[in-house]
Symmetry: C2
Subunit: 258 residues, 2 copies
DNA sequence: TTTAACTGGACTACTTAACAGTCCAGTTGT
DNA sequence: ACAACTGGACTGTTAAGTAGTCCAGTTAAA
């Protein structure tokens, strides 16, 4: 996530086009945009989309297949690889459930709590009528996606991003979007929990209500609650998932003060 | 600064090693880490540092020389290129004084005001005794660098980073470091203003005093003042530098509420 | 002043990634 | 049955990067 100022003494890491394509696809899977069973475009199509030659795409896809990340339709010469999220019990994506890109889950949630509340408070002042309408429609779609975690997550994403980008501060909005995006993989797991979707949906309804009143404080408070709930849920998931982090740690309050 | 989630339909942009090296050096110059007159390491040294072949380094340096960004010691076969910040009147680095990486200066400063105060407040609780000692020593060095803007800026950088990294939240600390780093080029210009260095130094003394008391609120307040002063200074600079942004804009308050 | 250690310039031969094109065998949907 | 796809498997070509060598000039210490 950070964009470190590269000191001169650090090695250049060149990446071949093959590797970049492979990583791109992996990150799309990790973030939940590519779902299990999704079909990738054809080799030729991918090549033209990515502006590389077909051979290069081939190499990347073959490596992905070798890693078991995608599965090429057996025996056949038809459509390319299906995304395969857990081949051989190995999940793709964020491997360590207690850290994201090297940052602790606590740090990420603390950052969200600080920055996201500011961003959405600002967004509350600038949301257009169409934005609000779109959010209300999104709620309806979410209600219908209640029993499909991945479908719900896609709606969730659109819902959140609509709000973030209503803020006038593009820099902070982008930052929050990054934080949200990097959480997607965790969120997908958490969404499997019974009741998780319903609770999120309830939060969303509350948020929309606050947004309609154009009350920045209420919106910030609602988001704060939402984020805290998400944090608690992910702690539960981690707890029975990997046997780690049984309780909310002390660090949690340290960044946000008092 | 943002790390966008790359959708599959976007072109892969491969970069040759030459280009990466060139860009790396340019960004080091733009951020003020490489100063005018600095000598780059020898080609062979650079090659081993960057883990590339000497020919590759040659290509990058030659291109930089062609662009006039570095200057190879004339005629000679001795030490490599000197950094040259304003060849032919063209300054290197941030070309648009009112935006950084596409973000408005206001957005950057608003972000700093929000996040940096939180980070330093946290840092106040975790600063070690050695850290404080180092900060006090830094003040002494800064006093001696008062009439050398670039030297002062190097001290300034170390001073700020020492505080940031004392925070327990690595994610937010990294973010703040990024913001600070991207400001460096602007700061270097602002430091040329008479009195600018003295004012910064005064702020730093005040900050150290607050840190020694381990008073998070006081530290946050001191930084808030510091950042606001920097913002005002950069507005002045822009005003007579490029004839833009004569007054503090309305957006300024919109992100931080009320 | 001599000398040994560096410097950049220039060149070679080699490896590899990526490109562009072709042809083929098998699927798919009409 | 058919046309339009799919991936598989080749080919030859280009460009980037590597590794090595040799040279002429500079530098600083012996």
């Amino acid at each position: 996530m950070p964009v470190p100022l590269s000191p001169l003494h650090e090695a250049i890491h060149k990446q071949t086009a093959k590797e970049m394509i492979r990583d791109k696809i992996v990150s799309l899977i990790a973030s939940g945009i590519l779902q299990v069973g999704d079909e990738l475009p054809s080799e030729r199509e991918l090549a033209s989309m990515l502006m590389v030659s077909r051979e290069t795409v081939r190499g990347a896809v073959q490596r992905l297949a070798g890693e078991g990340i995608v599965q090429v339709s057996q025996g056949a010469r038809t459509r390319i690889a299906n995304v395969n999220v857990d081949v051989g019990g190995q999940r793709i994506g964020v491997t360590n459930p207690t850290s994201i890109n090297g940052y602790s889950l606590d740090a990420v949630h603390a950052a969200r709590l600080l920055v996201e509340t500011a961003v959405v408070a600002d967004a509350a002042k600038h949301l257009s009528a169409e934005d609000i309408k779109r959010l209300e429609e999104s709620i309806l779609v979410q209600e219908q996606a209640c029993n499909d975690p991945v479908r719900f997550l896609i709606c969730d994403r659109e819902f959140h991003l609509t709000i973030y980008y209503a803020s006038q501060n593009r820099l902070l909005a982008d930052f929050v979007v990054d934080l949200y995006t990097y959480m997607l993989d965790h969120r997908r797991i958490a969404m499997g929990k019974p009741g998780a979707i319903e609770k999120s949906l309830e939060d969303h309804r509350f948020i929309v209500r606050a947004l309609k009143m154009r009350n920045p404080e209420a919106v910030a408070a609602a988001f704060s609650e939402h984020i805290l709930r998400i944090h608690d849920t992910s702690l539960e998931v981690d707890a029975d998932g990997a046997g780690l982090k049984p309780a909310r740690p002390a660090l949690w309050t340290s960044v946000l003060g008092q």
